[in-house]
Amino acid sequence: MTQLNAIMPGGGISRRSLHIFILADCSGSMKIDGRIQALNYAIASITPQLINWEKEQEQAQIFIRAVAFADNASWHIQSPEPISTFNWPPLSHVEKGLTSMGEAIRLVADALSPEKFEPRALRPVLLLITDGKPTDVDQFEIGIKELFANPVGKASIRLAIAIGQGANFSFLNRFINDADIPVMVAENADQIVVKLTAATLAISKMSSIGSDRKEVAEQVIMPEANELGVLDDDTII
């Protein structure tokens, strides 16, 4: 028996799951300008970025779930999909569809309830993408209450991308519920991919333990701004 083909122990390392929930608006207005196609394209194009990030660090193993909302909200991807084999099934808008954002938040809040959510997972990420405002305001109020009453929901990282002029910031800011993290704005369909790329970088930076959300937000979400705190002496990057 020789060394070169000697039996080695099998590989593998322990990692913690990072669950990313995409909450995607499929209301009638998402048809304008090909927004929904732009969104499908953007999600497909951030996948390699997430796969790369998964390879560059030892902690997080990424899983994706998605909720689509229009006249009502339903799971687009219900069981967590590992990023390494992830394939985004394209969404389409619902003709004259409403914006059941509240119901979508409730679905996610339920999946985050401590009985259902893995104990050793990292803080989950909720990424809301919309071009409007909730048409189910009462559901939105309940959803927000449920989300923040829940320790997982409260600890989650929440980001929002507003598409075009129609999105309402006050609802999105209540969803984010963190004054340091601004809503990301995609002025038009072309910008969706740019913003989603920045959001993905923000997700990876914010999920690395020891990072300061405010700092990441300044560094990644608002790179257009002039005064950036990237390299303070005590910054952990």
């Binding site: 020789t2 039996i7 593998g12 401590p114 990057i237």
Partner: protein, 446 residues
């Protein structure tokens, strides 16, 4: 340097694919071919120079420290690269109508992957390759540190490995600075020395040594040295129990770190299903003791003496390579000269030792790939100067031969045979014998 701040005429933050950037010192241009990655500090592109050679370009994101970064990089480009593993900044690059700057460096080929990617594969490289990766890293950091520079940001995105050749590539060298500059980044939390996390020290060679030990622990043991049961029970969503990740990390990696195999404190042993348990058992006692030093005294009283330095790592890895053997079941094993009845991790039997070679620098297991070096004969730390290589017998595959790769003739006296000579280039069958190479006496026995 005036063109790095101010307003861009194009309004763009980065060069675009197809653009040209110019190296400031040589005034040669590089064409941007593709975008490779976007990191926290900048965007990395692949470029091609006029001779068709690939180069990597890192272009900085706009930020208020740009001028300082410019001076730091300018300074680094004036040093030659400390070791071939570093993708060292070659020159600053500028663009005619994009503000800001970048730098050019050696292009790291795709055969270099993240260690995480390697460790999670079911099929692992053999131990000689793992040891080679460790050795390259240790040698690279040793040359960097001996120049008074420290790296600061050891992590899996920055130290890349070739799982086939055992070579390493170190990117993101822009944080490298001389020990005295108390500027720039502190690192990646899970690799950071406790005194950095608790803000009681600045990055230095001493703090790099901790990060290097964490990386090596991952390489050999497949897990984090401080992440055991005590840390894992704290990851919970119980209402009222959920403490922020950063608070937990500061506590378990900074304020009160405990090694998973601390001999005096068992409270943080690896979880029952942790891969660490199996790997830790495989290695010989002396090697585990090096990690114990790194993560007990090295944690509590950080200094260049209490931490494991590169010279210690270098000799530990060399010795480890010398204790590699094969069990009759076919598994790669290490001979533990301090624990004679150690069982094979694969078949559970106590392996029958093949051959042992005793040299002026100690005893080693004589198995395929074993190299007899100058260090074995003279204890002169010339680890890479091989004078003999062990190979499989060309026709009888269960036998080994030792090839004389030196320019000296060896005198051998196999047990029960008469004296013979092994001339340079000749091979001898490995069997119990006494040998003389120059003034060194060597014995091979079962």
């Amino acid at each position: 340097m005036s063109n790095i701040s101010g307003n861009s005429t194009s309004g763009l933050l980065y060069p675009q694919v197809g653009d040209e950037v110019k190296m400031v010192r040589t005034n040669t241009s590089i064409r941007i071919e593709s975008k490779v990655a976007e990191g926290g500090q900048g965007v990395v592109f692949r470029g091609v120079d006029k001779n068709g050679h690939d180069l990597a370009i890192k272009w900085y994101k706009k930020n208020k420290y740009l001028e300082r970064q410019y001076r730091l990089i300018e300074n680094l480009t004036s040093h030659s690269r400390p070791h071939k593993a570093f993708a060292w900044p070659i020159d600053i690059v500028l663009h005619s109508n994009v503000i800001g700057f970048g730098y050019a460096m050696v292009w790291v080929e795709a055969r270099f992957i993240s260690l995480v990617e390697m460790l999670k594969e079911r099929l692992q490289p053999d131990f000689r390759t793992l040891i080679s990766i460790g050795t390259e890293l240790v040698e690279a950091f040793s040359t960097l540190h001996s120049r008074g520079l420290c790296y600061k940001d050891i992590n899996f995105g920055n130290l890349l490995v070739d799982p086939y050749t055992g070579e390493v590539a170190i990117v993101d060298n822009d944080n490298v600075a001389s020990e005295v500059t108390k500027q720039g980044i502190k690192g990646t939390l899970r690799f950071m020395a406790p005194e950095l996390i608790t803000n009681s020290a600045a990055p230095s060679t001493t703090t790099d040594l901790h990060s290097l030990s964490v990386f090596l622990f991952y390489l050999f043991m497949h897990g984090h040295p401080l992440e055991g049961q005590r840390v894992n029970v704290s990851y919970t969503w119980e209402p009222g129990q959920n403490i922020s990740e950063t608070t937990l990390a500061t506590h378990f990696f900074g304020e009160e770190p405990i090694f998973v195999y601390d001999p005096w404190d068992v409270s943080n042993r690896p979880d029952y299903d942790s891969p660490i348990i199996r790997w830790w058992d495989i290695y010989p006692t002396f090697f585990k003791n090096v990690f114990i030093k790194a993560f007990t005294q090295g944690l509590k009283n950080p200094s260049l003496m209490t931490r494991v330095n590169e010279t210690e790592w270098r000799s530990a890895l060399y010795k480890l390579n010398d204790q590699l053997s094969v069990c009759s079941c076919g598994a790669a094993i290490f001979v533990d000269f301090e624990q004679s009845n150690k069982k094979c991790w694969n078949c559970g039997n106590v392996p029958v030792l093949l051959f042992t070679i005793s040299t002026p620098s100690g005893i080693s297991a004589l198995s395929e790939g074993f190299k007899l070096t100058k260090h074995h004969l003279y204890r002169d730390f010339k680890y890479r100067d091989a004078i003999g290589v062990t190979e499989r017998h060309p026709s009888q595959h269960d036998q080994l031969v030792l090839k004389n790769t030196s320019n000296m003739t060896w005198a051998i006296e196999p047990i029960g045979e008469e004296r013979k000579e092994v001339k340079p280039g000749q091979r001898m069958l490995v069997r119990p014998m006494n040998m003389s190479i120059g003034s060194a006496r060597i014995e091979i026995y079962r």
